[in-house]
């Protein structure tokens, strides 16, 4: 592996990179002696992104967990019978910061923060399940 050292933040560099050579010798980018990135052939990057998209839904969470439910698929807060969507709606309705929510709901701050990340990644699922619940209730005569 070859090493490219960035010495000046303001300087601009023009590098001629031979694609075949890059395939054989990946190029490590260092900043202040620390590795910060790697140059790889573009097709390898695309293959990695495709793999990441395929396996993204299998990401593991430390503070969230699946619970068996007839139709819900979103994750719950580990140790609580509370969905991520329920946490988020409570925070939004009461204008709670993550710190305030952690205190109010007696959850670790890291759990609230992880739930917020999950919400950003799975907002469509969470909102579709809220609509599903409303539809199920409406079908039983409870219009919301």
């Amino acid at each position: 592996m070859k090493t490219l050292t960035l010495k000046e933040a303001q300087a601009s560099y023009t590098l001629t990179i031979d694609r075949d050579a890059l395939s054989q010798h990946l190029m490590l980018i260092r900043q202040n002696g620390q590795p910060v990135g790697v140059l790889v052939p573009f097709d390898e990057y695309q293959a990695f992104r495709a793999w990441q998209r395929k396996h993204g839904s299998e990401q593991t969470y430390r503070y969230l967990v699946a619970r068996p439910h007839p139709w819900r698929r979103q994750l719950y807060l580990k140790g609580r019978n509370m969905t991520v969507g329920q946490l988020i709606s409570t925070m939004q309705a009461n204008h709670l910061t993550p710190e305030e929510a952690a205190d109010d709901l007696e959850l670790p701050l890291e759990q609230v923060e992880e739930a917020l990340v999950y919400y950003r990644l799975h907002r469509d699922l969470i909102e579709s399940e809220a609509r599903e619940e409303a539809a199920r209730l409406a079908a039983k005569g409870y219009a919301v």
């Binding site: 019978n81 969905t83 969507g85 939004q92 709901l105 007696e106 209730l137």
Partner: protein, 119 residues
């Protein structure tokens, strides 16, 4: 007469409990019952056995329990609004419960959507 309330695990909060206590309600939580993280049926049965009216955000699940086990002390459900900006705050929930109490509607064996009781 004010109902004795049980905050389901999905809605149990220190602030909501304090606001309800300040409004004159006796309130129990899953932490007090030793049921934090337990399934809906466990919370339902605890409330049933202790004469408590359940406040929950699991509207559909508790409506199903209401159908399966109609003998209970009342279920007050908070639903997600299609417009998320209209979701019920803690103050809205306390106000809606107060409206139900003032209306003197029966609670025993009943399932109410609290969203309909804020005005």
């Amino acid at each position: 007469m004010r109902p004795r309330l049980y905050l389901d695990d999905c809605i149990s909060s220190k602030r909501l409990r304090r606001m309800l206590v300040d409004a004159g309600y006796e309130v129990q939580t899953p932490a007090q019952a030793g049921l934090t993280g337990y399934d809906d049926l466990d919370h339902f049965q605890y409330a049933q056995q202790h004469g408590l009216t359940i406040v929950t955000k699991d509207a559909d699940d508790f409506e199903c329990l209401h159908q399966e086990h109609p003998r209970h002390n009342g279920i007050l459900a908070v639903c997600e609004e299609a417009d998320r900006s209209k979701n019920m705050s803690y103050a809205d929930i306390v106000h809606a419960i107060e409206n139900i109490v003032q209306a003197r509607v029966p609670l025993e064996g009943q399932f109410y959507i609290l969203n309909h009781w804020r005005w």
